[in-house]
Symmetry: C2
Subunit: 400 residues, 2 copies
């Protein structure tokens, strides 16, 4: 039998993540990488981890090292509901499922909603891990254009109408409302309302993915979709960007009937998220690790963002056709090259100049837009940012 | 829109785990439960955890708290290959994928192999979590009868022939060769060879699930399927039963072309298994936690197994129609009631008498066999085992 014959249809379509393969190229010495999406280790609240681990091992090892409930540690679910309430989203622990970080949230969403061939709506561009999750169940993500304020409601309406007309009603609308990955843009409240109206009229569910929400450096916090329409929104959160990624801990919040189905799906997927990690995180939260850690993280990233924006202004002053977004938070900005220049084509030149980025095409459901690139400002040092942007401008200038 | 209309076909078929729902009933005070499958907290190597965590936080927090490679921590993969080599299975780290415990192994297997409606072969009875994983992708598990030496090769051959005749070629053969859950039986080497011959002739892959393999209390270790046919076997392991479950850490081992596909699938599922837990486990293994922990665990469970077998002999002496398996390891034995008695029907009486078990029907692909029950001997104390078996015999006697 041919090897391919052993695989399911969905597995035959699976590919290694473009970004993960790219990142291997950026491992060469001397390179300054704006390609990854890694948080800076300097922001990890190590002291809080140490204190929490000590207390968990001393006081609750018998439960923390045992299996736990699929829904998650009851104390942690209380903590998570409180985090959300403090952020203006009224909810309670029974609306919350602890997940093995938010990528698992995307996997569970895909599993419970998508039949092969089903469409779902995403931003265009959008988070690559979302696209991977949807496609891994043979879902068909259909992109809706963004502008500087996120997903454009008129385009959303058009796309829904078109898909419905074709008998391909989308299963849900996937939105990253705050400091979107990769574009760095945020949807203002007024636009959130319009999007919700469109969704409500068509009885669509919204999947709100908001891993960076707490990382705001300027401007005003916008209300979550969850707070505006708790009956039709599933929200995905993670500690990966706001505390640390190494625990693989996140959560989903939504209407009971949807969370219930996600719990059933999760039972077959991994039984439960590591109880050890949940117990540690609970102890850290009790000690105030999130608030105090966030203060530090926000200051750290805010400075880096400012430096990258200043460097871009300076280094690209002589190439006014180059544009970029000005994110109010998060980890990424989105740089668009002059017409007819391709960030894919430029990539090897950049590597040769010892600077790396992710070509924007990776983030489009159809991989059909080559003019932009994603720049990460959270991982490189301030000096590296200055030098890296200089190198990038040189690459653009010589290839224009 | 009707709520059901939002779900995918596979989600509509999902149910809460029967066992998890049963376990809620067994939470009443005074009950002695043989129903769960939990390891005894007394076996957790807490001192090793404490030492390892300390060293990880001090020496490698920047990587342990960060994202990690999807394949797993390179050092841990070396450790796992060594564990397998020590057990007589030649392999190397590039054949190993670290998983978020072995339930994720089952999820990934199902995802890469099963199209909706596809059959796969399992024991009858078999592990409930396996059935759940296969069904969650609309796979159709087809059971093959076991005897005291595990899956019966003649029945396997018959079933394959029948399914092939119906144009329903099974996608893989799922086997729990050592101290099977739920039956407690082990396949001897000679029978493993026959099963492998059948599989090789039909070009079938074997999924070898062996969570209890290191927990042998008597008899001789039998070679793994992986060691006998590394080109056609994927083996799933977990630390849950041999060290502790709270880290959710396991691994898969198999041919590169299959492990590669599982890596791709895992990228979309959870990006990586918690690097923190992997780093701690690596440090524990370096310190000898597995060998020393296993000595302790084996002694602990071996005593409990002996006590349960002795109590069964004694308490059921007057009901010779009741039979049970004599496991050489693992956590479970399988008790079969006299003809026409149903373990499902008996369950409520048992609860009323303050003793609990899992009715065997939960473990059959077709839920069509009601005469047996699974008894766990790892969790209850020795005194509880004696008292619980006495209660169980009383329930059987009064309902015979």
């Amino acid at each position: 039998m041919n090897r391919q014959d052993y695989f399911s249809d969905r597995a035959r379509g699976m590919k290694r993540s473009v970004i993960r393969e790219l990142l291997k190229l950026t491992a060469k010495p001397g390179i300054i990488s704006f390609a990854g999406g890694l948080p800076a280790p300097a922001t990890f609240p190590v002291d809080y981890v140490e204190a929490a681990v000590g207390s968990v091992i001393e006081n609750e090892h018998a439960t923390a090292l045992q299996y736990g409930p699929t829904e998650g540690d009851a104390r942690l679910r209380e903590d998570l509901a409180l985090i959300m309430r403090t952020d203006g989203t009224k909810t309670s622990p029974d609306h919350i499922l602890v997940t093995t970080a938010s990528q698992q949230g995307l996997d569970l969403i895909s599993k419970i909603f998508l039949n092969p061939g089903d469409t779902c709506i995403t931003g265009s561009p959008t988070y690559l891990g979302g696209l991977q999750a949807f496609k891994s169940y043979q879902g068909v993500p259909v992109g809706v254009e963004l502008d500087d304020h996120g997903m454009i409601p008129e385009k959303l309406q058009e796309t829904i109408k078109r898909l419905e007309g074709e008998g391909r009603r989308p299963r849900f609308i996937y939105i990253i409302p705050d400091f979107q990955n990769p574009a760095g843009v945020t949807i203002p409240e007024s636009r959130r309302k319009i999007i919700l109206e469109i969704a409500r009229k068509g009885e669509y569910l919204i999947v709100e993915d908001t891993p960076y929400r707490q990382l705001r450096y300027s401007g005003e916090s916008q209300p979550t979709f969850q707070s505006m329409a708790p009956d039709m929104v599933i929200s995905l959160y993670t500690f990966s960007k706001i505390m640390l990624p190494g625990f693989r801990l996140g959560w989903a919040c939504g209407p009971n009937w949807l969370i219930d189905k996600m719990v059933m799906a999760k039972q077959a997927v991994d039984l439960c998220t590591p109880p050890f990690n949940q117990a540690i995180t609970h102890a850290m939260l009790v000690n105030g690790a999130l608030e105090k850690g966030l203060e530090n993280t926000i200051e750290h990233y805010s400075n880096k963002r400012t430096i990258m924006l200043e460097c871009l202004e300076k280094e690209f002053a002589d190439i006014p056709e180059v544009k970029w977004t000005k994110p109010e938070g998060g980890l990424f900005l989105w740089l668009t090259l002059p017409d007819r220049m391709s960030a894919d084509d430029l990539f090897q030149n950049a590597i040769d100049e010892n600077v790396a980025y992710v070509p924007g095409s990776a983030f489009f459901p159809k991989n059909d837009d080559f003019q932009s690139m994603r720049l990460n400002f959270s991982y490189a040092s301030e000096e590296q940012i200055a030098e890296g942007v200089k190198r990038l401008a040189r690459v653009v200038r010589t290839n224009i």
